[in-house]
Amino acid sequence: MSITRRTFLRASAAFGALAPATHAFGAARDSRLVTIVLRGALDGMAAVAPIGDPAYAGLRGDLALTRANALPLDGFFALHPAMPQFARLYQARQALVVHAAASPYRGRSHFEGQDVLESGQSSVGRADSGWMNRMLQALPSSRNAGREGLAVGALTPLIMRGPAPVLGWAPQSLKAEDDLAQRVLSLYRHADPALGAALAQGLDTNHMALNASKGVEANQGAGQPHAAMVKTAEGAARLLAQDNGPRIAALAFDGWDTHVNESARLAQLLAGLDAALATFEQTLGARWADTAILVVTEFGRTVQINGTGGSDHGTGSVAFLAGGAVKGGRVVADWPGLAQAQLFEGRDLKPTLDLRALAKGLAADHLGLSAKALDDAIFPGSQTVRPLTGLIA
């Protein structure tokens, strides 16, 4: 089985090398790119189970998925049963899975891992801007036309932080009077431009989202990851669907650090993610065809279940790609195997694909970004990380 996977990856790389760099986007497509960061480290082996690997069932014990309870993907891999919408999109060739992937970070700290993933740097260090923000700066003017990025949530995630202008939006309720807002903005204009820029963006996006929708203003309840994810996706999709709205968006969903009782918690979270993706599809309407949604996490989890029905911090994990623009219906993986000697440091799924290769492939084929911008500015020092091409239909 693993030989088949290797062959596939090589074939797709070769296709990428032969195809002209601009093959994937024509004048017709008004591309949208959304990245969802799953904070806390998604257990990729639980989300997309390598049920064809002979070592899998033994390593996973009670948490192992089987052909009987998992959703089929390609025979070797099967999907967690909490993700029927993703399975439907996969069958419709609008979703794919990338497995055994990781950022270049090889430690096991969430916070460093998220910094590397979101900053797009090749190692831990200064993380003052994110790769999506630098992507905004590098977009060809015909595709950007003065548009801002969209950061969803009360705080801008690092992946979207940086000099390029960013709209912030989150479901919210109480509203200050417009007159007061204008006076505060006017005070900031001279006295504190940084505060002014942030406030102006916050006010603008609230108006846009509220005008475009009815009913998003309700507060999201804590402890209900499902509802919160759907509400967040709905608000983001409304803004992305607008003709004059943003084209590049970043979201973050928390809570994936499943050290204990993983089975129940993860089912809830994956169901929320699944529903969020379906909400994007529904709310984007005709714009879904222009959209690619990338779902990534800072690292994976131990291949073995720990002593408390969960898993500890690991290395390789999965990434998901969904959207009408995606050339889906497949699992892209150079599967490293799960035998003891094949594991990273004897305990983790060994990463065989750099997440930057995935992001670079998307950026090139979906957004038309140049190799130079990708190698130097967006993912500094990533010249040797070849883009994974052929992801876009």
């Binding site: 950061a151 705080l155 916050g202 809570g255």
Partner: protein, 462 residues
């Protein structure tokens, strides 16, 4: 803005909770001396009437048992009975959480020694436990701060570390209550094993820092050292139910090697000393001194603190064997702490405290809990064990700023009988810029003028 910042603002904003009317005058000419004097005396106790964490756990256990029993009763036969079931009280963990929040808010509103409260907030964030984990932590998160953090902010780091790692809230939050020595009697019998969550975060977040020179083997060793650290079942009742307990049958047998030092096996209850010795060594490790020094300097002074300042704090930590009063004094005595520009954005919690103090209004717990969430810092509910971020960039987010405006407007309306320019003169004095004065003077209502004061850069930054 040129030269050093106004020392009174440094004293009240950088090292305090913000000014109440009259506070500026109380600072006087020696702003530094005003802050240093706050190191004298006992740390005030708050919430004396609130249940301790063991009592809180027992109450929650009892409430759950009652709830279970109620759910097993036959379905109500009359409308009156049905109504009675529907109108049940809020869950005990919410009641406890709100009572703890009220005590903390009250203290933030009225504290005379703002520095002490800022230290409590800092250390509480350094040793984060989060209600996001669920009901068990939600019920304890306030008691954790009162019991494990507050008493030690002017004491020894080692004592705080020990109190934190043995506190039920932390043991639940980072899963150690569920960790078993794989070769322990209980582990073998029940086929349960190790959970390395608490060990990893102890090394990464509580002591050495991520670059502090430990490896996966050290994480494993500390996780084994921690096995058996848990809680006595609440069903056992007072005095032990819900308290920290060391359970030798769960403790991994054998010596453990952590950071090159071997901690011998001890039999029975003495097995706890393995962890005591390990934490004592971690508390005085050079990496810990460096990590804490940098975090303190970054929290109080600047996102990128001067290296000279960090070095002073590190030296004070090492020389005093982690005496936090000495370390804090070194921070206050450093010239860097009084010359760095007031550029850091107040966190939502700091902003909320400053609002209460400036407006002279009693806390309104439920509204403040919602407000903190809208500004991106839900109370005692950080997203992960690394706590809230401590840089301006992290808080200077469009959505969060829009929420600050809404909350400033609300507090302006609430305190609407105060003259805004008088208040600005009182709490900011000459540090209020001309722009801010003009904006306040031109406001169309007192409420609007107060909102402008609360949103002014002088009020937002510290």
């Amino acid at each position: 803005m040129s030269g050093n910042p106004d020392p009174t603002l440094v004293a009240l904003h950088r090292f305090g909770l913000g000014a109440r009317p009259g506070d500026r005058a109380r600072v006087g000419a020696d702003a530094r001396g005003f802050v240093i004097a706050q190191l004298n005396g006992q740390v005030p106790i708050i919430g004396a009437q609130l249940p301790a964490s063991d009592e809180a756990t027992r109450q929650r256990h009892a409430a759950e048992a009652t709830r279970k029993e109620a759910s097993q009763r036959p379905a109500p036969s009359t409308m009156a009975e049905a109504g009675a079931v529907k109108d049940e009280e809020p869950h005990i963990e919410m009641t406890l959480f709100r009572a703890e929040a009220a005590a903390r808010f009250q203290q933030l509103a009225s504290a005379e020694r703002g520095l002490i409260e800022r230290l409590v907030l800092f250390w509480s964030n350094h040793f984060t436990v989060s209600a996001a984990k669920g009901a068990a932590v939600r019920a304890l998160v306030g008691a954790f701060e009162r019991e494990a953090i507050r008493p030690h902010v002017l004491g020894r780091f080692q004592d705080m570390l020990m109190a934190v790692e043995q506190h039920p809230a932390m043991l639940i939050y980072l899963d150690n209550t569920q960790s078993f020595g794989p070769n322990s009697r209980a582990g073998l019998n029940r086929e349960r094993g190790l959970n390395e969550n608490l060990a990893r975060e102890t090394l990464e977040l509580h002591t050495l820092g991520v670059d502090g020179g430990y490896g996966q083997a050290d994480v494993g060793a500390l996780a084994r050292i921690y096995t058996g650290w848990g809680i006595t079942g609440p069903q056992q009742g007072p005095p032990d139910g819900g308290r920290f307990n060391f359970a030798p049958p769960r403790h991994e047998p054998g010596p453990q090697t952590l950071l090159g030092r071997t901690y011998p096996e001890r039999q029975g209850k003495a097995g706890l000393e393995q962890g005591g010795a390990a934490l004592a060594d971690l508390a005085r490790h050079p990496s810990t001194a460096r990590f804490i020094a940098r975090k303190l300097a970054r929290h109080f002074v600047a996102d990128e603190p001067p290296a000279t300042l960090v070095a002073k704090l590190e030296a004070a930590f090492t020389a005093s064997d982690g005496d936090l009063s000495t370390v804090t004094r070194a921070l206050l005595e450093a010239p860097e702490a009084w010359s760095a520009p007031l550029a850091k954005l107040r966190t939502p919690m700091d902003f909320m405290a400053a609002l209460m103090r400036a407006a002279g209004r009693a806390p309104e717990g439920p509204a403040m809990i919602i407000g903190l969430r809208l500004m991106g810092q839900p109370l005692w509910q950080a997203p992960g064990p690394n706590g809230w971020p401590d840089t301006t960039a992290a808080w200077l987010a469009p959505e969060a700023m829009a929420a600050r405006l809404d909350i400033a407007a609300q507090w302006g309306r609430r305190a609407g009988d105060v003259d805004p320019l008088d208040l600005a003169n009182d709490i900011l004095g000459p540090a209020a810029s001309r722009d801010t004065r003009e904006a306040i003077a031109g406001a169309e209502s007192r409420a609007q003028g107060l909102a402008l004061l609360f949103m002014s850069p002088e009020f937002q930054r510290r």
